[in-house]
Every structure is written in C-alpha cells, then in structure tokens.
C-alpha cells in the first residue's frame, strides 16, 4: 500500500514538472533570420601572409584567407553578432560554462563570439609559438599579456560592450571580436549568414546586429508564441 502511494506521488511530481516545462516552452520562442550583403559585388578575401613567423606558416598546408568579411553564395554574411539590445527585464544567471577563444594555427577561433557579463572566458593557446593577447576594450578593462607557450588564462568582464577587439601584435593578421551582453539571448551568424536566438520570452524587442566592418543595424520585433523566423539585417548597401 505504501509502495503504491509513493509511486502515485512520484507520478504526480513528474506530471507537474512536465506541465511546468510545457507551459514554459509555450511562452518562449525562437528568433531567427539572416544577415544579408546588399552591396553590388562580393568583397574578395585577401591571402593572409604568415611568413612573418615561420612557425605559423608551417602550420598551414594551404593558403589562409582573411576573415573580416565573409559573404556566402546566398549573400549571407558570416560573423555578424545578433543580440537582444532592448526589451528584456530582470537579471539573468551567469552561465557556469566558460566561453572560450583559442589561438590555433596563428588564428583566433572563433573570430566573433558572445559572452555574458561575469561569465569566465578561457583564453587558450594551442600554438607552440609566441602570442600576445591584446584586449582593446573601451568600457571594460583592457589587458595585454603574453602566451609564449600553450596554455589557458581566464578573464571575465563586468560591463556590456559590443565589438571588443582582441589582437595579437606578434601576428598582425590575428584579430577577433568579443561581445559582452547582460543576457543569454544572442547568436553569431553562420557560414550562410543565418542565426537563431532560442528561448526568448514573448514580448517586443529591439534586436541589434553588429559586424566588424559593416557596423551596426537594429530591428524591432514582436515575439509571439510562434517566434520570428524571417528577421533580416541588410549590410553593405549604398
């Protein structure tokens, strides 16, 4: 009899949890779309010359292209940071998971990334050559330290700031951009220029988009139960 009662209580708890989870999901939606290049001709990538450090040059079998402007065949732009600029209320937990930027093959991976205020950033070097990592923040604290051998250093950032440049002065072609936001709703466009911000509560928001060359764009959207799937940011137009 006791066993039956326990099972009943367990089933009730599981059902309650499912109902809560389903109701939460019903109030959250995805915002998706793409960043599109509207200029006349697609800019050509330049060849990165790594002969300034023979070790870097030896890490690549083929030519390495510049990554500042990457436009796909469908004219989608890669590495556009898309984020909720306005419309959210309340505070959000800082993720325990670390964000990560890696120096590998004398390039930064990823080239553009997001991080929440207070979240730890792992700065990793996998290269067996000298690197320095020069953070050129304007709102947050700047830093510049060397990573002469493979290893990891941790940093965190206190204030929201878009487009914080990281550069390696040893290898001038190396640059990356960090975007510090105060919420978990952000994304970086992929190779086709597509992005998807998941789990955004229903409401009206200003969605911002930033690219290192093309600059800023923003759009106001109303997110309902079905979300938004066709948000387009246009860059490079006349």
């Amino acid at each position: 009899m006791n066993l039956t009662k326990t099972s009943y209580l367990k089933a009730l708890a599981i059902a309650s949890g499912l109902i809560f989870a389903l109701s939460t999901t019903a109030n959250a939606a995805d915002v998706g779309g793409m960043a599109k290049f509207t200029g006349s001709d697609k800019p050509k990538r330049k060849v990165v010359k790594m002969d300034a450090d023979p070790k870097c040059a030896a890490m690549h079998d083929s030519k390495v292209g510049s990554v500042n402007v990457l436009v796909a065949k469908n004219r989608g732009i890669q590495n556009v940071f898309v984020y909720v600029k306005d419309g959210l209320s309340g505070e959000f937990d800082v993720p325990a998971e670390h964000a990560k930027i890696t120096q590998i093959g004398c390039m930064y991976e990823p080239h553009v990334f997001g991080i929440q205020v207070g979240q730890t950033l792992d700065i990793v070097s996998e290269d067996n050559t000298l690197h320095n990592i020069n953070c050129q923040a304007k709102v947050n604290a700047t830093f510049n330290f060397g990573q002469p051998t493979p290893g990891t250093r941790e940093k965190s950032f206190r204030k929201p700031e878009i487009g914080v440049k990281f550069k390696c002065d040893v290898h001038p072609w190396m640059s990356a951009y960090m975007n510090v936001v105060d919420n978990p709703f952000y994304a970086v466009t992929d190779k086709t220029g597509a992005f998807s911000i998941t789990g955004l509560p229903e409401g009206e928001y200003t969605i911002g988009a930033w690219h290192e060359v093309f600059g800023d764009a923003e759009s106001t959207v109303t997110v309902g139960a079905d979300g938004v799937s066709d948000l387009t940011f246009e860059f490079g137009g006349e």
Partner: protein
Amino acid sequence: MPLNLNDSLPQSLPESSSAESPSKSSARSDSDASPTALHRYAIVLACCTLLLVVAGGNVTSKDAGLSVPDWPLSYGRFMPEGWFHIDNVRAEHGHRMIAGAIGLMTAGLLIWTLMREKRRWVKIMAAVTAGAVIVQAVVGGMSVLLSRYLPMTVVHALLGQTFFCLTILMALFTSPSWSASARIAQLEAPAAGRLRLACIVLVAAIFLQLLMGALMRHTDSGTAIVDFPLAYGRVIPALDEASIKKINMDRLYLDSPQVLPNVTASMILIHYLHRLGALMVLAAVGWMHMVVMRNFPKLTALTIPAMIVASLLILQIMLGIWTVLSFNQPWVTTAHVATGALILGCSVFLSAQAFRYVRPAAGGVTAAAGVDPEESAA
C-alpha cells in the same frame, strides 16, 4: 638688389685669412681646440641614434609595439626564446636592445664630457642628453605597459627625434671647428635676423609636422587616405557620415596587400593635416633656402646643410607619396620616418650654425661693404 655679403667676409671674420667658410678655416688652425676623440664618439652616437630612430619607426610601421607585452623584460626574460625568428618580436625586442646600447653610449658621453670638457654649458648639454635618454626609456616602457596610451606613444615619438637632435648638437659642439669659431667674430649681416627667424620657423614647422606624423601613425590613420594627390577623389575630403560609410565600403575592394581597417572622420582629418603639414614644411624649407642662398652663397657652413635639407625634403615628399600608394608598406614608411628625422636633425644643425656664425648687423658690415642698407633690405 641682394646684399653680396661674401665680399665683406674678410672684414667680418678677423681671424680668418680669406673669404672661405669660417668652419673650414678654423678647423685647420685649431684642430686641437677640442678633444677630437670625444667629438668622434659623439658623431658615432648620433649615427647610432639614427639607427635607433629607424628601429623605433620600424616597430610602429609593423604595429609591433605591443608584441612584447611586458617591460623592462621581454616575455619575462632578458632574451625571449626565438625572438629573432619572429618578425614583430624581433622588431620590438631589437628596438629595446639598440635603445639599451644607446643608453649606455649616452652615459659614456656624459662621463667623458664631464671629465674632458672645459665648457660648462657643454657639460650641461651632455647631462640634458643623458637625461633625455632616460626619460625616453621610461616613456617607452610606459607606452608598452599602458597598451599604447596615445599621449605616451606620441611623446615617445617626439622625444626620440629630440634626443637625436641633441646627439647631433653634442657632435657639433664638441667639434674642433666649433671650439675654434669662438675666436672668430660673428659675421654681421642685415639678413641675419631673417636667417635666424627662417631657421626657427623651419625647426618649428618640422617639429609640428612630426607631431602630426606621430599622431597619424599612432591612431592607425596612415592608410586613412589611400589616394594621392587627391583625397578620395577630392581636394578636401568629405567627412560626413554617409561619405565615411561609402569610403569604408569602397576600401573593401582596394587591391591592398593587407586588410585595411575601417576609417573614421577624425582619422581622415589627421591624415589630411599631415599632408597640409608637408606643404607648410615645404614653404619653410623654401624660405630658409632662399635666405641662405641669396645672402650667404659662399658660407658653406650654411649652404651645405641648407642644400642637404632641401634635397632630403624632396626625397621625403617622394617617400610620403610612396607610403600612401603602397598602403603603408613597412620599410617605405620607416624610410619616411628616418628621412623626417634627418631633415629635423639637419635643420637643427643648420640653425645652430646660423646662430653661431651670423648675427644681425649693427651697421659695421654694411658700411664696410659699401652697400646701402635700404638697398640691401630690398
């Protein structure tokens, strides 16, 4: 009618035997007037300092200033492993090594001057030179530790050129001819005032241009304008928001060897001001050259440096154009910086000579030469 001052030269330089340049004649007669070895040492120091200016210019040209992020050590060591094989680290660490050697050489100059030199003001000059190199080292270190804080890097650039001028002056002041010239009466000339003013204007104009150049380089504005002689097809570049946006789009399609950074209105303005500064220096050099050649055509102590300055300026303008058209190719840009330092150094040298050998007439020369002052002024 210009005053033919050289006709009056013998009367003006009582201890000089002929109408030749005072420097030439005095050097022959008083070669033991100053410690020659110290003078030669000062010349070597000045030449090495030019090498240091080149090394420093190379660091900025390659944007290598922060490639060694610590100071006074490099990656925590006196000699970081593999530094010579990595271009930018070699540039920055090499610059530090050369600077260290120059610092020691300057200390040597100070000690030697204090021991051998009799003139108090030369001793003070040596102390100022040594002080300058110490301040320069500290400012350079602070530039690294403060991640190229703009005022610090600009001061470092200007102080470097100033230090170069101080070493040139030390070489000049310790020369036998300079010591000997103390026994020679200064040449009196109505044009002396104009000459002195032209020299002051010249040095000030070059220094101002160096300031603009340093600002341009340390704000990444060197490639802010990529065409010449126009600026994005205009005499005066457009700086409104729409134009800047279009310029940045157009820059994506340029056939540059490297990715060009986005530009702002202020970057274009700084670059443009440096171009205007070149016109200002051109005018100042032209004026100085005219004053020297018209009034002192046989005074080689002035004509030779004047011709060198004018020649260097032509080279410098060509290098400046090449720098723009090559999208700031590092070695071209560094050559531009080095030539700028040489122009400043030669101008300071010329000014020192002008102040040394010529002074405004008190009526004596004009009367001796039999030239009407009104006529000469015209």
